[in-house]
Amino acid sequence: MAYLFQQILNALQLGSIYALIALGYTMVYGIMTMINFAHGDIFMVGAFLCFVAATVLGLSFIPALLFSMLGCALLGVVIERLAYKPLREAPRVSAVITALGVGLMLEHLTLVFSPYPRHVPALWSSASWHVGGVTLSSLQVLIIVLSVLLMVFLDWLVRRTMLGLAIRAISWDRTVAAIMGVPVDAVISLTFAIGASLGGAAGFLYALAYPVIDPYMGVIVGWKAFIAAVVGGIGNIRGAMLGGFILGAVEILVAAFLPSTYRDLIAFALLFILLICKPYGILGQPRPQKV
């Protein structure tokens, strides 16, 4: 029982990181119907910024977190302006392929500067408590709490503010939104910035939780988070969070009760089946098509 509880805690930790990344995918998809395949690598950059902040700059926890988030936000906006904006009217896959290319560039640029894996020093002197056989580390609690705070904030932002309204207007119809006076370019850039900064935060937290980082770490984690976004129903903010936690739970629980090599196999098989049964994700809905 304690073992199960421990695993649930681990699942929450991993799930909240997946959820943070999934949010970036979903926000960009929601506003542009575009899969930003570079997002996993933005997450990776976030982890490396954490490393830079901790070693080169010698920042403490909060400034380092902000450094990661702002750095990634900036990166997201630059990518959007240079690589995606010119392709808004092009066929949709062109932007997707461009995103794949940008992601590869990020990976290998990082590889140029960091040819071998790095060890991230602890930015947080973690205490741990033992409660009835369950080990609860303060880092774990921090990751979960911080992620949940960010998600609640985002949910509020999208549901309750003018920015959220503008995002929804653009995702409904970009041209009409522009006519109605929504500053489309600025809102799209801001969306990228928010999504990327969440990715950066995820990278930061990931680097603290699993401190060995390398330039390819964003590939597999990114794809998985993307799948999580789709499972929840891509374009749907709450769906992305749900998908992230589901994926985290499945992975951890499978690894807990079966040989760990089965983790990916079972996680993906479950997702595959889920997608076949609910092709638009758990909370997603197909856009009605009239003939």
Partner: protein, 321 residues
Amino acid sequence: MNRHWTIGLLLLAGAALSWAIPRYELLNPYLQATLMYLGINIILATSLNLINGYLGEFSVGHAGFMAVGAYASAILTVMLLPVGAAAWRFPLAIMAGGCAAALTGLVVAIPAFRTRGDYLAIVTLAFAMIVKSALENINAVGGPRGLLGIEGLSTMPWIFAWTVLSVWVIRNFVYSNPGRGVLAIREDEVAAELMGVNTRRVKIRAFMIASFFAGVAGGLFAHLLQFISPRIFDITKTTDILVMVYLGGVGSIGGSIVGASMFTVLQECLRPLGVWRMVIMPLLLVLLMLFRPRGIMGLRDFPWFRPSVECPQRPPETHPS
């Protein structure tokens, strides 16, 4: 008629060269290997183009089909078929690899009945990941360490023959009415159905044909590299194939050939740059997408690809209305 002769002669010359080059060492082994990988890449790009270009879906699972073909054929030559020098052994193994891949293609085609676009992309992605992690869990084929000791049966003439065959068959398909059904689905699925196109059957066919040839390419690849492991067939491999297809131009077989060639050649030319090569390749891709979003060939194809019966026979004078 003239055109047929030219193409025939070229193919003959190619076949002769593919035999002569290794026989008389006309090229150094490194260039020979590059040429052989080029052939395999052409098969991969053309077959993926059938899904991503002609059917208009976005499959990111091609490396998964390739893996199935590679493992199936390698298992046959390593474990099942006798080592005797029988000439049918290798083509049989490759065919079997293709068929195994085609069967898994069915698995992906069925979700394609209900979903399109991004959701189907995820299904293919999940499929590829399942294949990879399944292979990692089968110890009989080496698990994560991979399968060693595969014979180097992929010789240049074989690869040449399979490349020509694959391109030819896929070209034949897209220039036939069953193949036009695939294009019609890309353009407008509802209208296609109302024109009598059985969209389910067409999707199954497209996926099975594409995955068959991905499997063939996988088989050739396994017997060229003489070693396969699940990691070889991960997302990065799919990304490479995607790049070839979109570089050349979707919906154009000539484009896939051009894209695969450019990709392979560039990759080798930039090799001296070390890690920077891997920065410059995607940079070139991004620039290409920005300035030519439809790839080098766009939707067009080489005119000589078109079978002559396909062309309309028209009276000499035309009168626009």
